[in-house]
């Protein structure tokens, strides 16, 4: 790495600079917008001050019949921006990531989803290359070596080295490419590349090439954040946010569990325990109940609940608990918290009191 090489690298990319006239237009637009919003805020503050001054005079019985100080009708006070500035900020739950792609094919890249918690980090991108078919690229790191030591995968794939580390690559029956790399300290990274559009699949060579190059350039110490669409102000005692799954277009799921709990199946159980979750779900993807009813096959009965933050609710309870299965337990649905979206508060094995589910739901804000 020479100083000259760095200088050359910078200078060679000066042509990427945006058009100055376009930028100037954007600046002028920004100045106009800022000016308009300032005027609106100033107007609001003036109106509120007038209203407050007037109201205090009425309360004190000191109306001296001076028209300029007459109390403003309450209806004239604009939506209280001044109150908003004093309200604590609603902060979304934010996922902290350390992995990321150091290289992706040239084109449009969009981070679709992240998942962080219980020792796993995953991030997926949709890549629309400038040339060729769109791709889904997924990166995951986890404790353990499930993929790399799985004999069934060994039979299907082959070993190779990525950045000097042992790795295995295999192709799925759907043409997707998978590459698992053994990291130090018993961790594993996987890169999955798949077609984003089944009607326009990339070539097998492309999928493999992209997978290898993404794996070679994967970053493991690249802090970044992903804000969810949920703000949570109440978490039951003994629980903490242990996992965040976010999908920009579809859903956000926040898992609450005891600090030391593991997401592994207990002896004799079929699956890992179902912890408490707070989920924001689209109605069309996962329709909420619309009326009370029973689901005998699922051992569930649904009843109307009491409103939460003025939203209609339903409560779904289990009618039978099977000892070898960690089921969802009691579920509270809160409808229409955002257009086309509802909340699902699932008690799991960690919260069995429905009143606690109501308290969680009341403290949740679904953000735009």
């Amino acid at each position: 790495m020479t100083d000259q090489l760095l200088r050359d690298a910078f200078v060679a990319h000066e042509h990427l600079a945006p058009d100055a006239d376009l930028a100037l237009e954007g600046i002028q637009q920004g100045i106009r917008t800022r000016r308009r919003s300032r005027l609106a805020v100033t107007g609001a503050v003036v109106a509120v001050v007038v209203a407050v001054a007037g109201a205090s005079m009425v309360a004190g019985g000191t109306n001296h019949n001076r028209p300029e100080q007459a109390p403003a009708p309450a209806t004239k006070v604009p939506p209280a921006r001044t109150t908003q500035t004093h309200r604590p900020a609603v902060r979304p739950v934010v996922a902290q990531l350390t992995i990321g792609a150091g290289w992706l094919p040239a084109g449009t890249v969009h981070r679709d989803a992240v998942s962080v918690g219980f020792g796993v980090e995953a991030v997926s991108y949709t890549v629309t290359p400038r040339t060729g078919a769109p791709l889904l690229v997924g990166l995951t790191t986890s404790a353990g070596t499930d993929f790399a030591i799985d004999d069934s995968k060994r039979g299907a794939g082959h070993d190779l080295k990525i950045n000097g580390l042992p790795a295995r690559e295999w192709v799925g029956s759907d043409g997707s490419s998978h590459l698992a790399v053994l990291l130090p300290a018993g961790r594993e990274a996987t890169v999955d590349v798949d077609a984003a559009d089944s009607n326009n699949p990339p070539s097998a060579t492309t999928v493999t090439q992209v997978g290898r190059r993404v794996a070679q350039s994967m970053q493991f110490n690249r802090p970044s954040t992903a804000a969810t669409q949920l703000a949570v102000s109440y978490i039951p005692a003994g629980l903490t946010v242990r996992r965040i799954d976010g999908d920009e277009l579809n859903s956000t799921i926040i898992t609450l569990a005891p600090p030391n709990a593991q997401q592994v199946a207990a002896p004799g159980h079929q699956s890992p325990p179902t912890f408490t979750t707070i989920a924001l779900m689209p109605d069309d993807m996962s329709p909420p109940p619309t009326a009370p009813g029973t689901e005998p096959a699922a051992y569930r009965i649904t009843t109307a609940g009491r409103p939460v933050n003025e939203h209609k609710t339903f409560v779904s309870r289990q009618t039978k608990v099977r000892p070898d299965i960690d089921e969802d337990g009691t579920i509270l649905y809160v409808l229409n918290v955002r257009p086309g979206k509802h909340l699902v508060i699932t008690g799991g094995v960690t919260v069995t009191d429905v009143n606690e589910l109501y308290r969680i739901a009341t403290g949740v804000t679904a953000l735009p």
């Binding site: 690298a9 060679a12 600079a17 290289w103 040239a106 060729g132 920009e248």
Partner: protein, 169 residues
Amino acid sequence: MSRATFEEFARQELPGLLRYAVMLTGDRELAQDLVQDVMVKAHSRWRRIEAADHPRLYVKTMLTRAFISWRRRWAVRNIMLSEDPVDGEPERDHALSIVDRDDVWQRLATLPRQQRAVLVLRYYEQLTDPEIATMLGCTAGTVRGYASRALTTLRVVITAELSTTKEQP
């Protein structure tokens, strides 16, 4: 100072500020967003800026600090995109490509923002470490630390890639 003066300043300095923003962000659209955000703020405090000894340096400092503290939500546009085609021409041999400017440009995208900013200021803007320290609001020692770590990272990544190229079947 009248608004026209801000506009004169903008017209004169925008091309350079946009080039500088591209070096920081590595992305045309991000660069434009960054410059626009900062220039709108600069307009609101123009009296203070025009009174400064070096208004251009003042705005460039705003730009640098804004870049370092910039936050985005889900959409990730700060991933450095390569110029390599996915379909089409076969990939060049890495052993040949790792020393070229595009590859270095891509590697720069993997650096933390402070480190990248230091390299841009040192090698593109050709500022001294004390000048960079003033711009970033830190000490010259910190600047040297950022630069050292950035250069080490770039060397390690390139060495690792060279090693992979040799080991791959």
